[in-house]
């Protein structure tokens, strides 16, 4: 497959990786069993604040995880949590808090008075009889079960277990899901809760529940598992479509709720539930595939579900994992495989068989067939001691199968049939016979030829003109002596002006060769003569000695660019990191201010404006204005003066407003002055009016 030259190396690599991905789509990276990383994540996520956890629910989750994972450095929260438990073990606490208080007490075993349990038990039994919703039934039945374990003398048996069983079963639906109340919204999460509650009812029943009803529930479980979702790699999980009203549970909470319910139910019923082993294994793969969750609740759901899967009555999943999936031929590694239960404990006696191994490029021919791996007692690994000579560098798919030594084991354990695992076999690829030559013309008479040791550091110095050709060749050989085609085999010519050209080196079998005819490349090189640095890149995922090596220089003499067709040099690729450097300074272009008239002209006109005022005053004098009507008596005189002062004050305020005040203060002050002015003006003007009226009548 010839890639176009000048395609960037990244694009080429990604295309090749895509092709490889398609060829090994059956084989995926295997998630390993629970490890110490989960233990440290548990300590981190469930770190108590000020010595205690935020709620009883969180305390329970933390304590249960520490118990399951046998975490050694767990924090001691007895002193702070036991008092909280005791204060919640009263009849009046809400059902959910009571439930979690009892759960915490089950782990911590705080000192609780026996009478408290009796009290709570009687209240709970009453609640069970009257409960209308699934959640209430779940919590009350769960609490009664916990009391049964913690206080053996208290009577927790349900009088009407059949009735309770019936009321829970009545909420089920035909597709295996359950409703929370009479309202029609149903969910898979509720199914998990219901199954757990039903298991509780069976345990707490004073007389045995009718077996036909139990079988109906078993059918419900099978129907529920019909709605299971899966990924292509054999992972199974439950997911919830958006249910209004109740909080939306993600796939982890939903799946773990179902796991809790189903296995609780399976534990209390006789007879088998016919769930296929691969679905149980798929659930285990789902939880292990999460890795280390970042959320505390997700971690709790993961660990608790895996603990239930570890020892359940239906089918125990066995997990096959590889510590490493890359094997180096030069280091003479050994292929190691581990088989554990989900929590990392030892598996029952079994043999791991390598059914076949094939290369991804030749799927039909198997390089290894039907080998058994030897079990090493000390390390617990199954080991394939030596890879046969046929195995060369490359990507392979190894198909494993577990065969249990105990024939009945197939019913108890789920092994998952044939497991495909991608394995990378790497090695040192020999690079040899490197030759650089400058050829004269079509006939190929050699002008200069030099051999190069690509392992060393020597470089060559050549010169050529546009009539000549450049030839470079080398050989690649795998450790087993076969031809090898790497992902990348590029030759780069870089001019002193930083313009570079990349060419792919093609091959015929082991020999890689590239011939550059400069006559055809003159335009591509933008007519740039001068010194070109030559660089060779050979790389591949399975090649341990991939390299990028400068080979030397080439002084290239190209003709001048024709003036009619001046070569437009494309912009050089800017160093991508300068993108984050400081940018060019922008000088703001301010709006050019308007042209103003010269100051003197404005001042002249200002004085001209005052002329009419003078004319007005002169005219007033000529008309003979007088102040005869000014009141002489004291009170009206003051009012008159105040009136004129008021008007003057308002005008002064306006001038201040123009000079520096803002509208709001002006309005406020104007309002005040206006009120004053109104009052004063009214007095004086009414006085004047009455005076003139008197004069008229007189």
């Amino acid at each position: 497959m010839l890639l176009l030259p000048r395609m960037s190396s990244k694009l080429a690599r990604s295309l090749l990786l895509l092709l490889f991905a398609f060829s090994i789509c059956d084989a995926v990276a295997l998630p390993g069993p629970i490890s110490d990383r989960h233990r440290s994540a548990a300590l981190e996520l469930f770190a108590p604040q000020h010595g205690s956890f935020a709620s009883l629910e969180e305390s329970y989750e933390a304590l249960r995880i520490f118990e399951i994972l046998a975490v050694r450095e767990k924090p001691d929260v007895r002193a702070t949590t036991c008092p909280k438990v005791l204060e919640n073990l009263v009849s009046s606490t809400p059902l959910k808090d009571l439930f979690y208080a009892l759960k915490v007490n089950g782990i911590l075993k705080c000192k609780v008075n026996g009478d408290i349990f009796k009290d709570i038990a009687s209240r709970l039994k009453a609640t069970v009889k009257d409960a209308k919703t699934l959640i209430d039934l779940y919590y009350s039945i769960g609490s009664l079960l916990l009391i049964k374990d913690q206080a053996s003398d208290v009577d927790v048996l349900l009088a009407d277990a059949d009735g309770t069983f019936h009321s829970i079963k009545a909420l089920s639906q035909s597709d295996g899901k359950w409703r929370y109340t009479d309202k029609p919204e149903s969910s898979t999460y509720a199914a998990g809760l219901a199954l757990e509650a039903l298991a509780g009812v069976i345990t707490l029943a004073s007389s045995e529940i009718d077996q036909s009803r139990v079988n109906l529930v078993k059918n419900d479980i099978l129907k529920l598992f019909d709605s299971i979702e899966k990924y292509d790699d054999g992972t199974f999980y439950f997911d919830e479509k958006l249910v209004g009203g109740h909080e939306h549970q993600g796939s982890i909470s939903t799946t773990s709720s179902v796991v809790r319910g189903v296995f609780a139910f399976a534990a209390v019923t006789s007879g088998k539930i016919n769930l296929p082993g691969d679905k149980i294994l798929g659930l285990a793969k789902f939880f292990l595939g999460i890795g280390i969750p970042g959320d505390a609740k997700d971690l709790f759901n993961q660990i608790e579900s895996l603990a239930l899967l570890e020892s359940n009555r239906i089918s125990i999943p066995l997990i096959l994992s590889l510590p490493a999936s890359v094997y180096s031929l030069s280091n003479k590694d050994q292929l190691k495989v581990r088989v554990n239960t989900v929590l990392g404990s030892a598996a029952p006696p079994l043999t791991v068989k390598l059914v076949r191994a094939f290369s991804t490029v030749a799927k039909d021919s198997a390089v290894i067939q039907n080998k058994d791996l030897k079990y090493d007692q000390n390390s617990g690994h199954h080991v394939l001691d030596v890879l046969p000579d046929k195995v060369d560098v490359g990507i392979y798919v190894f198909v494993f199968e577990m065969v249990l030594h105990d024939a009945d084991g197939e019913k108890v354990y789920a092994t998952g049939g044939q497991i495909h695992v991608p394995i990378y076999v790497t090695g040192i690829v020999k690079v040899s016979n490197a030759e650089i030559a400058v050829l004269d013309n079509d006939l190929g008479s050699i002008e200069t030829q030099k051999t190069l040791d690509l392992a060393g550091n020597d470089i060559v110095s050549l010169s050529a003109n546009h009539l000549q050709k450049f030839r470079f060749s080398f050989q690649l050989t795998t450790p087993r002596g076969h031809a090898f085609k790497p992902h990348q085999a590029f030759l780069k010519l870089k001019h002193e002006t930083k313009y570079e050209h990349i060419f792919v080196v093609g091959n015929a079998g082991k020999k890689f060769e590239i011939v550059l005819d400069f006559l055809g490349l003159v335009e591509k090189f933008y007519y740039l003569s001068g010194r070109y640095d030559i660089e060779l890149t050979v790389g591949d995922a399975v090649m341990e000695n991939s390299f990028l090596r400068p080979l030397g220089h080439l002084e290239l003499d190209l003709p001048e660019a024709p003036t009619s067709k001046a070569p437009r040099l494309p912009p050089l690729a800017v160093d991508p990191y300068t993108r984050y450097g400081p940018k060019a300074e922008i000088t703001h272009l301010f709006r050019t201010p308007e042209k103003r008239p010269p100051t003197q002209l404005s001042l002249i006109f200002l004085s001209l404006t005052l002329l009419p005022l003078i004319g007005f005053l002169v005219g007033l004098l000529r008309l003979g204005v007088n102040l005869r009507n000014f009141p002489s008596s004291a009170a009206p005189a003051t009012y008159a003066i105040l009136f004129h002062l008021g008007i003057a004050a308002v005008l002064v305020l306006y001038v201040l407003f123009w000079l520096k005040l803002d509208l709001f203060t002006t309005l406020k002050t104007t309002a005040l002055l206006g009120v004053f002015l109104l009052f004063v003006g009214h007095r004086i003007l009414s006085h004047l009016a009455t005076t003139s009226a008197k004069l008229k009548s007189a």
Binding site: P597, T609, P612, G615, G619, L623, I647, F657, L685
Partner: protein, 115 residues
């Protein structure tokens, strides 16, 4: 003919002037005030014609102040004029108070618009 026209014009002018002299003094004061306002407006318009209308809002506020106060003065004259039968019952002091109030409001707006 021209002579009689100019004489007629002079006669007309004299007649007008003598009739005008008969108006009461307070009305004459108001007329004088109106003339003052109009002349101030004219000078501002001439200035704008010379230097251009930037900033336009200042020009408008200046001219409208003069025109507005002239209009208010004319209203005052109408209301105060004793010969005006329509406003017989309105006291001249009341008309003056209205004039003062309206002028104050007008000049507040003008000052805001002056910029």
């Amino acid at each position: 003919m021209a002579r009689s026209t100019s004489k007629d014009a002079q006669d007309l002018f004299r007649a007008l002037w003598s009739a005008y002299s008969a108006t009461p003094t307070n009305l004459k004061i108001i007329d004088l005030y109106v003339m003052y306002a109009v002349f101030t407006a004219l000078i501002q318009v001439v200035y704008m014609a010379l230097v251009g209308s930037f900033p336009f809002n200042s020009f408008l506020s200046g001219v409208l102040s003069c025109v507005g106060t002239a209009v208010l003065a004319v209203c005052l004259r109408i209301q105060v004029n004793k010969e005006n039968k329509e406003f017989k019952d309105l006291a001249p002091e009341r008309a003056f108070a209205d004039f003062v109030l309206c002028n104050l409001v007008l000049h507040l707006v003008i000052m805001n618009f002056l910029g």
